[in-house]
């Protein structure tokens, strides 16, 4: 899981630095929000790598069987 944090932090560092220099405040907020979603889903996926399936969750949710 460490590599996920490493990649996201590396991307975040360079992008936020550039956006800060350009004065893109709103873009930084959206970037952080997107970062939180990416990390949350990434951690969820990595913790359930052999069972995580959005399709399967959707089928279970609506009671669909085939």
């Amino acid at each position: 899981m460490k590599w996920l944090f490493f990649i996201v932090l590396l991307i975040s560092y360079f992008e936020i630095k550039t956006m800060w220099n350009k004065g893109l405040k709103k873009e930084i907020v959206v970037f952080v929000f997107l970062g939180i979603i990416t990390l949350s889903y990434g951690i969820y996926y990595l913790m359930n790598a052999n069972t995580a399936s959005l399709c399967r969750s959707f089928f279970n949710l609506i009671g669909f069987k085939y």
Partner: protein, 360 residues
């Protein structure tokens, strides 16, 4: 990501390139499943629904020629309801990105590279997109002009070579009893055609939107004829009962090609078509998604969101399924209806409400 614009002609060429992959992967199997040996007629009724969509698109852009669909939605439904609808379109595009990326790599692994982990192909595809997309949509527009010729030439060669393998008893006779199955089978062609509507979410990057109807009609006719010919030849070669049971029917049909025992094993051309088409499809969808984020949050630029967004796309495509069967079932039972809802039903509602409120 906001550099340059593309012409309406390039937009429709992009559509024809990106639709090539879903047609050969999906339309053949679904149409055969629903319409049997009459499946090759299934794309024809889609002409009507796609013409309706084009007419709606044309009407939307008469008053809003310099805007994108998002701004038209805000104007028609009001800002808050409009933002909710646009957010739903964002979720749709995100779902399509994850699904098509997974399809793309599953197909490569399933057909050509069985021992390579799918992560490798996902990361490679995303790296290429991360390199190309910041250069602007006009680069994709110009690429589409070349790729269209390459892909159509490949189709032309393959379809000509497949003719000797076609058995007429696999595609005929067709009776009037098959009208309803044909209509049912046509849903997949319409569902893929709805990506035209999604492409206009990058409407501010498209010039000459007044020519939507003229260019769109010829594109739709070409798309329908191409789909019908492909389905005809695949079913003619393999029979509909086989096509509906195998995952890469077009690839298998191409494997049957053998001319004078010399021209054989040319299925690598199909793999090339898959790769080019999926690359354009994913690039356009990612561009559209970022454009929707830009509109929802009123951002000045989205170039800096691209890399992080691609990390999210990686996890979504990995987590969307653990096997290909779920993926195929999701497409057959749900994705078509989701596409029709977002690409046809909501635009019709948008058109009716817009006319009533005199906003379009």
């Amino acid at each position: 990501m906001s550099k340059g614009k593309i012409s309406i002609r390039q937009t429709f060429l992009l559509f024809l390139v990106l639709a090539s992959s879903p047609i050969i992967r999906y339309a053949t199997g679904y149409s055969s499943l629903k319409a049997g040996q009459a499946a090759w007629l299934a794309p024809l009724p889609a002409v009507i629904t796609l013409f309706i969509m084009l007419y709606i698109l044309n009407s939307l852009f008469i008053k809003h020629s310099e805007k994108s669909i998002m701004e038209v939605i805000y104007a028609v439904f009001g800002v808050w309801v409009g933002k909710i609808i646009v957010f739903l379109y964002f979720l749709w595009s995100l779902l399509l990105i994850a699904l098509y990326l997974r399809y793309d790599v599953e197909r490569l692994v399933g057909s050509t590279y069985p021992s390579i982990p799918i992560e490798f192909f996902i990361i490679t595809t995303l790296l290429v997109i991360a390199y190309v997309l910041p250069k602007g949509i006009n680069i994709l527009g110009r690429m589409s002009e070349i790729l269209f010729l390459v892909i159509m030439f490949a189709f032309f060669i393959l379809l000509i070579c497949m003719i000797p393998n076609i058995r007429m008893d696999s595609v005929f006779p067709v009776s009037t009893k098959e009208v309803l199955p044909i209509l049912h089978g046509s849903m997949v062609t319409t569902a893929i055609g709805t990506y035209i509507f999604l492409m206009f979410f990058m409407g501010e990057f498209i010039n000459d939107k007044a020519k939507i109807l003229k260019t769109g009609i010829s594109t739709v006719v070409f798309y329908i004829l191409l789909s019908a010919i492909i389905i005809f030849e695949v079913i003619g070669t393999l029979t509909s009962s086989v096509v509906q049971r195998i995952p890469f029917a077009f690839l298998v049909a191409v494997k049957q090609i053998s001319i004078l025992d010399t021209i054989e094993k040319i299925e690598s051309i199909v793999v090339g078509v898959f790769i080019f088409s999926d690359f354009i499809l994913l690039s356009v969808l990612i561009f559209v998604s970022l454009n929707i984020i830009k509109s929802l949050a009123k951002l000045n630029e989205t170039k800096h969101l691209l890399n992080l967004f691609l990390v999210l796309v990686y996890f979504l495509s990995m987590g969307i399924t653990i096997n290909r069967f779920d993926l195929e079932n999701f497409s057959v039972y749900f994705l078509i209806y989701i596409n029709l809802t977002f690409g046809l039903i909501i635009p019709i509602i948008l058109f009716i409400v817009g006319k009533i409120r005199e906003k379009i």
